[in-house]
Subunit: 284 residues, 2 copies
């Protein structure tokens, strides 16, 4: 199921996206948070899907918001293996532990929001990532049960300013500009998302595919990462874990230029859909 | 003024601490957050102080909670100069920019809470710091006006596990164990806190002073740091900025051993009072 949060005059509401006669429509699920709806079980959701007809508003007519409002946004650094020549052990250079950093709540934006390029940011860049949304509280859970704590998956663009990121040892300043975490467009439940280690992550910038890599090449699986984080911190419903970005393709690396006013970046991931972010403003 | 949050059967309430006949007592201010009370101005607070008498509960009889529930806890790495020999420019080795990292909301604890040493943490350590509490939203503010956005000051023990902190380049895992940010005991308003660049920060562990250094030796002042952070992120009321820890005294560095069950650490800071944290549990 694809679950959304959307704006109405009476406040933000939840909905389920159902395709009726080839048109995506939103069936309202009330004001409760998506993680509460998922935790309550499938009956109410199944009922909403069964009710769907052409009287429900078209998805394209509603203003989507971020599917959750996470208490924590936890992100991974290096997590995808690069190209490994035949005959070389692909795991030979793997780091022993995930490299984890935090994005603050001011970074969150919905799928319809543009990102304002800060005037002080000289080198804004994108990172297209699978975002895991926690559904049930998790502390000290093992890898075998970790995925049962996941409410679903969505897409996060881990926008970063490289110039601020590299000023000091810790990356927070480059990662935490207002609006640097567009999230969405929806929460895809695990039954529909399928195997998180078999998803293709792609990024399209200005019509060019700049990233294209399968999660089969990650070093740390979603289950491992959820378990690992839970050894340190209690994960709460709505928390987001962004699972790291694949390397850019060589041509895209060579052609790197900072994001600027008018650029658009689309992150598309198997079965999760796509998240397009427009960038506006920036240095004069 | 010293402002507290404290537990009652009806929920958490705010109060002001007033000394009556040499005994600290708490005058209730209702359920509103401390930052809202400070923003509303001094009249209500002054009235509460004027009302104080021996019918108000003794401070020692109430259960204090953390004075704020921050949306963000932003922390500085290296910010105090070490000992500089006579004739050497004390600013010669200063970093150009603050090194900023984030503690997640699960780290927050009140002044009465013990910190549970995680069984997986091999090298838990303390860092006694001045915590700046934002009172008014701040974005792109300059250094000259930065302090007008501060609601007051309190004490944070930036508890860290060095073994997890050093596993990878980013420190989040070592900094974000549940309970690793005891905060309190109260919010001291700027008029009573005085000059934040003229405070002595001391730490006492097991009866021994292990840290003793003035904020006159910081590299980045509170005003500078608030302004600097506001260039990147919108600071919201209740956000906490912890301003870095002084170096341990040489004898304490030499005698370092990880915190363990039964240890107590007191951070005391001029005009801010003291925060004592007990550590329990830990590896067998």
């Amino acid at each position: 199921m694809r679950l959304v949060r959307y704006s109405t005059e009476g406040g933000t509401r939840s909905g389920v996206v159902v395709t009726v006669d080839e048109v995506d429509r939103v069936v309202d699920l009330g004001p409760a948070a998506l993680t509460d709806l998922v935790a309550a079980g499938g009956d109410a959701l199944d009922g909403a899907v069964a009710r769907a007809d052409i009287t429900h508003p078209e998805l394209s007519s509603v203003q989507l918001e971020a599917p959750v409002r996470p208490g924590k946004i936890l992100c991974l650094g290096y997590n995808y293996r690069g190209h490994v020549p035949d005959g070389v052990d692909p795991t030979a250079d793997d780091p022993e532990f995930p490299d984890v950093f935090v994005k603050t709540p001011n970074t969150l934006r919905g799928p319809a929001d543009a990102v304002v390029v800060p005037t002080v940011a000289a080198d804004v860049d994108y990172e297209g990532e699978i975002a895991v949304v926690i559904g049930r509280r998790a502390k000290d859970i093992d890898e075998a049960t970790a995925l049962s704590h996941v409410a679903g998956y969505t897409i996060l663009n881990d926008v970063s300013d490289r110039s601020w990121q590299r000023r000091q040892s810790q990356w927070a300043m480059g990662k935490c500009f207002d609006g640097f975490a567009p999230l969405g467009p929806w929460l895809v439940t695990p039954d529909e998302a399928g195997d998180p280690q078999d998803m293709l992550v792609e990024v399209v910038r200005d019509g060019v595919v700049t990233v294209s890599q399968s999660t089969a090449t990650t070093i740390f699986s979603v289950a491992y990462v959820v378990s690992y984080l839970s050894r340190v911190m209690t994960l709460e419903p709505g928390d987001v874990i962004s699972t790291g970005t694949p390397q850019k393709l060589p041509d895209a690396q060579a052609a790197h230029r900072p994001l600027r006013d008018g650029d658009a970046v689309t992150v598309r991931i198997s079965r999760l859909g796509e998240l397009t972010t427009t960038f506006i403003g920036g240095p004069a």
